[in-house]
């Protein structure tokens, strides 16, 4: 059981939560949401919503009845490991999709396009990670991926299945470009069935799909198909809102929170109408726009605050909640990247949320990454988990007798390190804790990034490929990219 410290209570009141709820209902009833999918429009019409072209206006009763079916928690199974997502459980963490560019510290930190081999490295790090418990399927369409086929999505998924025993998370990424063998809803169903077949598990959740809405107040064609495909295959989804203030959502934080809340409730309503009781997570990674650059400000205090507001809303509805991200706008693995990682991860660990995407490894406004940042962000997460453990204040732990025995000017250092010390303390790796002259430390220990690179190499060596059956290997071999087959 993970302690939920509900830090969000420090940023929003019950009355404010109810105000946001009321206006969200008003938005769904009076403004409506656009959905680029006829099946979805039919579902809403059948349940009594007003459908006008692609705009659906949803009475609050339909919404509230539908979301009441969302389960408090659910489990996603992988090859050998599983994760349970819900308020009582540890926040579940994914790594990042391999980014479009890698900062390559084996080559002086130059920036280069990522390749399939980087995706494999990312799987190795996620598989061996002390904090990542669900691996992100990379669908980055790296330059070395053969795209002259009518399906270059499944080869990438096959590579993930080949590489990890942990469960798999996917960004909605089946689209008309990478999957031409079927219409989009069927394409999503095919992909989910491929996973079921691989695991030979047909009655449990074996996939978790990220579905990004299109702000303001819309669900795009690709994502609608992913949502419907998952609902029909009875596989859980995480609808995500990633609005940008003053561009795709209102200029105010309160307006953006309300907008996002309305949109997410509409999406969750849709999948619950199709498959009542489907595992759903209320997802938010909404971000301010920096109007000086018209950029998504990925590491920002406004993001932190909007996450707190949206976590409160999800808890109000009793829906498991997702936050993000250990990411940053920084294009270097520097001080800014550290500040942003700590700030952005905090709502997840102390907030708290039940799922976190991109919790390690990402920067450069999501477009850049490095294995080194993955292992460093892991340390930041372990810091936050230790903070969240909190203080153990009991008469025993106050240790009056020891204080009396040592007395003024005495020393506590004697014999073996006491149990109370070991219980209360955390030891980071990579982060320096040595003392002495900095030049000597630099000489003997190297830079933080050099230490991180060494740790990455250790992890690659520690990695063990999953032990697959002949049937599984044969299945994957039909799809695995050239050079990556068994």
């Amino acid at each position: 059981m993970y302690q939920n410290r509900k830090l969000y209570e420090k940023y929003i009141t019950k009355e404010q939560i109810e105000l946001i709820h009321e206006y969200s209902m008003k938005i769904l009833e009076e403004v409506g949401i656009a959905i680029e999918n006829d099946y979805a429009l039919e579902v809403f019409k059948k349940h009594g919503a007003a459908v006008d072209g692609q705009i659906v206006r949803i009475p609050r009763k339909i919404v509230m009845d539908a979301i009441a079916n969302v389960p408090d928690e659910f489990t996603v199974h992988g090859l050998e490991q599983s994760v349970t997502i819900g308020e009582k459980h540890d926040p579940v963490n994914t790594g990042p999709s391999v980014p479009t560019m890698i900062q390559d510290f084996n080559n002086g930190g130059i920036y280069r396009d990522s390749l399939l081999s980087d995706a494999v490295n990312y799987y190795k790090l996620q598989e061996t990670s002390p904090v990542v418990n669900i691996a992100m399927n990379s669908c980055t369409d790296t330059p070395d991926l053969d795209k002259n086929t009518d399906d270059y999505f499944t080869p990438q998924l096959a590579l993930t299945l080949k590489s990890v025993t942990k469960p798999i998370y996917q960004v909605h990424c089946v689209n008309t470009e990478n999957y031409k063998k079927a219409d989009l809803i069927q394409a999503n169903r095919n992909v989910l069935n491929f996973q079921k077949q691989f695991y030979d598990v047909w009655d449990k959740y074996v996939s978790l799909t990220n579905c990004c809405v299109l702000s303001p107040l819309a669900i795009g064609a690709d994502v609608a198909a992913a949502l419907i495909g998952c609902a029909l295959e009875n596989q859980p989804v995480i609808p995500i809102s990633c609005s940008m203030t003053n561009l795709t959502s209102p200029p105010s934080l309160a307006g953006t929170i309300t907008h996002d809340n309305a949109t997410l409730l509409a999406v969750i309503t849709l999948v619950q109408l199709i498959q009542p009781g489907l595992g759903c997570v209320y997802g938010t990674v909404t971000t301010p726009t920096d109007m000086r650059t018209i950029q998504l400000a990925v590491g920002s205090p406004e993001s932190y605050l909007m996450m707190m507001g949206l976590i409160a809303m999800a808890r109000y509805y009793g829906i498991p909640v997702r936050s993000g991200v250990g990411s940053s706008n920084s294009f270097d693995l520097d001080y800014q990247a550290g500040v942003d990682a700590f700030m952005m991860l905090e709502p997840g660990f102390m907030g708290k949320t039940d799922f976190m995407l991109n919790s390690v490894g990402s920067y450069g406004t999501y477009n850049l990454g490095s294995p080194e940042k993955m292992v460093l962000d892991e340390q930041t997460i372990l810091y936050q988990k230790h903070i969240n453990k909190g203080l153990d204040i009991t008469a025993e732990k106050i240790m009056f007798d020891t204080i009396k025995e040592v007395g003024p000017r005495g020393s506590y250092l004697k014999g073996r390190t006491p149990k109370a010390y070991r219980q209360d303390h955390f030891f980071p790796i990579l982060f320096n804790r040595d003392g002495g002259k900095p030049a000597a430390l630099l000489e003997s220990k190297g830079t933080l990034i050099q230490r991180a690179s060494a740790e990455v190499e250790k992890r690659y060596e520690a990695y063990k490929a999953p032990d697959l059956t002949t049937t599984q290997k044969e299945l994957l071999n039909q799809y695995l990219p050239a050079g990556y087959k068994f």
Copy 2:
């Protein structure tokens, strides 16, 4: 009025606070505190405490009566600016004393001893800082300071007074080495009178003095003299506890909090007995020991937690409270330095505390610093201040009419940037917010440290030396180090 979000309430209960209080009283009554100063022992004896050699055992009534006199808030005056320290007010921030070593980014980031010219640069940055509002008097005894005199403390203070219009904070640093002209209590009184004379202000607080206790449960000779000198001259003090778990305080966090609380209450009792109503701040910068290296773990989750516990204790007694520090064990201005700065500053800004030492510029376990880190930590602090402002959730800010007008798939970007956007958003400098290819960004913007160096230069140019009277200049000239006189 600064919003106190009382984050510490998430880490400690009322019952736990009372348990710590009870054991603290028991420590003071049964174990006692060692004080290396006869005057202090006499004061305690006179008020009814049991004095046995240098050990004082203090009945709880004496403690509670004495600390009841601590004012909720007080003001410290500088040449042109003043600060008020108390719960209702913004956290007051100092910069660091110039560290013993500087990471010199004008010379490729090499480490070198700091010099008096660095101290002057630190004053320039503190004077022009958007977050530092009380300047730290550096008493680092740099290699270029003439130490063949019977007073090489006042020359350093004179340099501070020459450089800043903001009020001045000093670490207790008058000692038998740097001040041989008088006994230690008188030495402290002389220094405070020098400040009164410089400002020609005799009835207000013109100095604020940091007094570090000696864990476990002791007040060393130098610090006792500083406390007594300040109390006699009616100038405020910040007693500080900087225990190291399992070395100078119990191995558990709860034990260390209790130990520190007892010690700080003893010190505050001492000065209140001498000067009832004296401005006092309950100060903590207690830190775990990393038993692998036997080092002070300056950036650590345990530090964060102990700060939360100690803030709660100070609020319980109604005493203004200090936290620290934007510092780190890192010996480089890197990702670890960023993570640690955010983590360590948070109890101050969202905790919240009334005063923060070393809030900018420090790393290398306090022994290292750079002007670049000062300006970067300022950004981190501005992030936290923006987070602490919180969410403004009102019907007006939810902007339903705008949401309705823009509708699904519309754009919020039109005309001038709205007031709601400007109210809710914060714009960092130095931290990257530009998009595009990272190599191109690096080429056009330089590294974060290069941008910080450019900002430091701008700040040196923007700095204006205080406008002093002839009398003030003559007074300082009697002491200013050679090469730094008017």
